[in-house]
Symmetry: C2
Subunit: 337 residues, 2 copies
């Protein structure tokens, strides 16, 4: 009998999907960022639920208010990746009986704050007794069926692009979990990506309205894993030609002699959108993002050859899978000095 | 600094609600069975999320497939109490890495089975690593704003009614957690209420369509607590005149010399609808339920006097609060023989 550790999260999801009665005329296929359901005319409801678990998902130094904020971001980001504006957020809270009231109040403030920040409302939810703090978030939004951005539409020759750069969270986890050091200012700027991430809601909605995107996913599982998912759904490969790393993560990599590609590819809990556009639509996509205050980052190109590679100093290198729940283990905690 | 144990679940919810930015023109006020949001014309989206946690919510002997089934029932029941048909279910699963694949497959089968049983679809969700099995469910449905059954409309003189009788779960918890005994056949029939509950979806939808209900709630927190909630929202009291207990729970009470009122009032995880109707509409409500194969159970009457009482052998007795998360503690486990 197999355990989840042997199977890994991807294997588990495959097994689960085999057991589910498929929704007839599903606006979004399984293995997508969010679930969809036809509502009325061309309107579809978009739903997403994702859980934050204290022992696994909350790094040292993160305040309860930030935890509430992040639970909203991680759910809204998936709607944004489909081009749909979130309207509402709900949360089921699992709480130990000895939790301080103030912790729950701060969690609530963070959830309400983030919901309003993205022009949505926190509609409440439910409280339950649990052995550790668990926040199961729900995002709800309404979009137009023909405007949904799916994972599946990338074609060979399409430009691979993103709404931002990567590496901050991978560097932060090295600081928080492996004891790496960074000067105060750099450390603060890196950690902000972990403690107070942003979802690309306006960006996703603007791209969907213009209809210039052929495939889209959010980068919450890291750039590498997200490219694997886009590749699998679209039946294309990707050739990453430009190292999409933030200035801060690059400085951190140089400081510690770490391969910057590793930071950019194998992070996670980043909430950029990764998408493809046809070359003739690239300038329109760039302009669309500029109008909402965001720079389009060109990363590479979709290929007929289904391999995932990146070009490092003229050399082709293969892109691995990255972090996976159940299978991957966090690095050992740093030894006390 | 207060902990949740000192505050109790009701106190906690009050504190949380103070911190939430209210939705303008909310179709359902806070402190309701589910959350609502205007969609299009007179259509409203109904959303509910509730979490099942293995250590707190899964009694001995319950199979993973039943756990999946129950997670759907407990979320769909809240939509049913508002008169709205659930269309979709989602689940966020928290799972330890050493969980057997078969356990998750059975959970999934139970969720899919229950979703289809109520004519809805399981749209998927998310998997996460956790220290114990946690299933956060999400129910989604669409209803008409003017047809929603709220907690707040009961008026003095309204008849208090339910879609069924109570006591099976209270008796079952005495068997499962306190070591009480019951003959094989009685035991099986009592435990079925815990292991394989039903949500009153057709009943709630039918009552809402006829517009005969003045207030409604589901009984998942037990009859007593649900009456407290109805009372608080409607500003009325209730006088329970007829002991609404199942034949099985009555037999169990007689067998052990337990006060049957205690079993009927202070259970929980029962999914009957408790509702009020004006006396002139009682027969129409009864007929409406009969058409979907359900008997209307008359329990008592709503009163101007806000007290909650029941009539036991001609004596007025006060209805207490019942089980409350964080505050209430389960009875000690039975001693080994």
């Amino acid at each position: 009998m197999k355990t989840l550790r042997e199977l890994g999260e991807r294997g588990l999801i495959e097994r689960i999907l085999r057991l589910i009665t498929p929704l007839p005329s599903n606006p979004l296929p399984p293995w997508e960022d969010a679930s969809a359901l036809e509502l009325h005319g061309d309107l579809v409801a978009l739903l997403k639920t994702d859980m934050l678990i204290w022992s696994t998902d909350v790094p040292p130094g993160m305040r309860p208010r930030d935890v509430g904020w992040k639970t909203v971001v991680m759910n809204f980001s998936d709607l944004a990746a489909k081009g749909v504006r979130p309207l509402a957020f709900l949360a089921s809270l699992g709480l130990p009986a000895d939790t301080q009231l103030e912790v729950v109040e701060e969690l609530t403030r963070g959830i309400d704050e983030a919901s309003r920040h993205y022009d949505a409302y926190f509609l409440g939810g439910d409280t339950n007794e649990a052995s550790e703090i668990t926040v199961a978030g729900v995002a709800f939004g309404v979009g137009k069926r023909e405007r949904l951005m799916r994972r599946s539409g990338a074609k060979p020759g399409d430009i691979l692009a993103a709404t931002g750069l990567f590496g901050d969270t991978a560097a932060s986890f090295k600081i928080l979990l492996e004891g790496y050091e960074a000067p105060g200012d750099l450390r603060r700027r890196l950690l902000r990506a972990v403690y107070h991430p942003e979802a690309r809601v306006r960006e996703g909605v603007a791209l969907a309205e213009r209809g210039v995107v052929t495939a889209s996913i959010d980068s919450s599982d890291g750039l590498a894993m997200s490219l694997h998912d886009l590749s699998r759904s679209s039946g294309v490969g990707f050739r990453v030609e430009h190292l999409p790393i933030t200035e801060e993560a690059m400085r951190f990599a140089e400081l510690h002699g770490i391969d910057p590609w590793k930071l950019a590819l194998y992070g996670g809990e980043e909430y950029e959108l990764i998408f493809t556009v046809r070359p003739e639509n690239l300038e329109e996509a760039r302009e669309t993002l500029r109008e909402v205050g965001c720079s389009l980052i060109e990363i590479g190109v979709a290929t007929r050859d289904r391999r995932l590679i990146y070009i490092d100093g003229g050399m082709e290198k293969s892109i691995g899978g990255g972090w996976e729940h159940f299978k991957s283990r966090p690095p050992p905690a740093p030894q006390a000095a």
